[in-house]
Chain length 234, copies 2
DNA sequence: TGGGATTTGTTCGTATGTATT
DNA sequence: GAATACATACGAACAAATCCC
């Protein structure tokens, strides 16, 4: 039923998910153009379905749609990045408040297993996987609240944060995140709301600072210009 | 630029806004079927554009899309309603924290003018306008934060709350809201964060607690949309 | 149960607008 | 600055699924 409501059984949904993953995993970089033709061709559907997927992604802020000009992977500014982190922090506080002292044993098990996976990825040094897993940890927490809207918003903000990290984050930016995740779990299990909130604030603050204080990674100049050209009235 | 990014200059955007308003103002009731044909016909566009608008609305949770079955105005359950209010509360707390003690004089003027308009609508007894204005007050506050994501999320949750009120709220449910809005402004201007937060919590809690009766009666989609058509220049 | 009517899913052609030379 | 090339906006039509009697 959840599948149904989200249109996950549809072909358009498949296109949407393909694109979404490509963007989040940074296979498609911020500012990259997303022509309907190319997407449809590559994914074996017509422009119509590609378009629908792009509309959905634009709704989440992962894609920017410019009338008569086409779709581009979102290229958030630093200010937008700060905004997203601020909202995400507020949302994750809600998650903490909903979960503190209420985690079932099997949920704790799942969380710990996830952190273990994060540790493994970190040890292997596979940056891309680490970024993905770090995001998934927060998504996993949100999911445990059972609050559909909260889940959607956390997923969205987490995705956008990974875009922001791609643009402005330093390499190895998720280094100490694993231990921070572990501490959050501990505080949640212990039922210590204040500590859990503080930890989450600190954790996200740390992630943000690592991201926004770092220098921009080198994006493709052409795409960047394409994305910014119109805004300057050129 | 904001217009552009949202696709507000497009005809699809116009269809989207028409439908959105019709839903929020409860001219289209929760659960109502939204056939692509009928929408396109009444709004003078083809199914393609109707479809795009529906996809966007589904992204906001105002419309439910069922594969091979069509689109319906969302019919949230009571539990979903509580979830939405919970998230909305968290978001509006962020708004308060961003604005407290920082409102510029002209912003205060705008807010007061808005509340005056609310009062006027309440005096006239025009329920539909009251509902719209009450929501817009919160949207206006969010807008003043300048945080694009926060604005979007508040708009979305406010819209969905009006759906929920349509389903589970009592008539005249926005009666005392006006004075509560006024108090929030006062607290914001006074820079009293705790009081502003308490007021907002109480305000939203009060709105939520007015969850009781539902109502019947199903107006014709075509008639409803005809009224919304002009304003979008279709 | 079945079959026609209705609605959705999808493709693709044309017109329009944008970028490039 | 005009012509050309290309991508998008929109719609018409066909295929497939669902609904309804």
């Amino acid at each position: 039923m959840a599948d149904e409501a989200k249109g996950n059984g549809t072909r358009a949904g498949a296109v949407y998910r393909s694109l979404r993953r490509a963007i989040i995993e940074q296979a498609l970089r911020p500012g990259a153009k997303l022509p309907e033709d190319a997407i449809g061709e590559r994914l074996g559907v017509s422009r119509t379905l590609a378009r629908e997927a792009l509309v959905r992604l634009a709704g989440e802020g992962l894609v920017e749609l410019r009338p008569n000009r086409g779709a581009f992977v979102a290229y958030p500014t630093l200010e937008e990045g700060r905004d997203v982190f601020m909202v995400r922090n507020g949302l994750e506080r809600l998650v903490i408040q909903a979960l503190v002292g209420r985690l079932a044993p099997d949920q704790v098990t799942r969380l710990k297993a996830h952190v273990a996976a994060e540790e493994k990825a970190a040890a292997k040094g596979s940056e891309r996987e680490s970024i993905r897993l770090a995001g998934e940890f927060h998504a996993l927490l949100a999911e445990m609240t059972g609050n559909g809207l909260l889940i959607r918003y956390v997923n969205e903000t987490v995705s956008r944060c990974s875009l922001i990290l791609a643009l402005y984050g330093r390499p190895h930016s998720s280094e100490c995140a694993v231990s921070e995740h572990r501490e959050v779990i501990q505080a949640l299990v212990a039922g210590d709301e204040r500590r859990a909130l503080d930890l989450m604030d600190h954790h996200l603050g740390a992630v943000m600072n690592r991201a926004l204080l770092g220098r921009p990674a080198e994006p493709d100049l052409r795409d960047v210009l394409a994305a910014y050209r119109r805004e300057e009235g050129l």
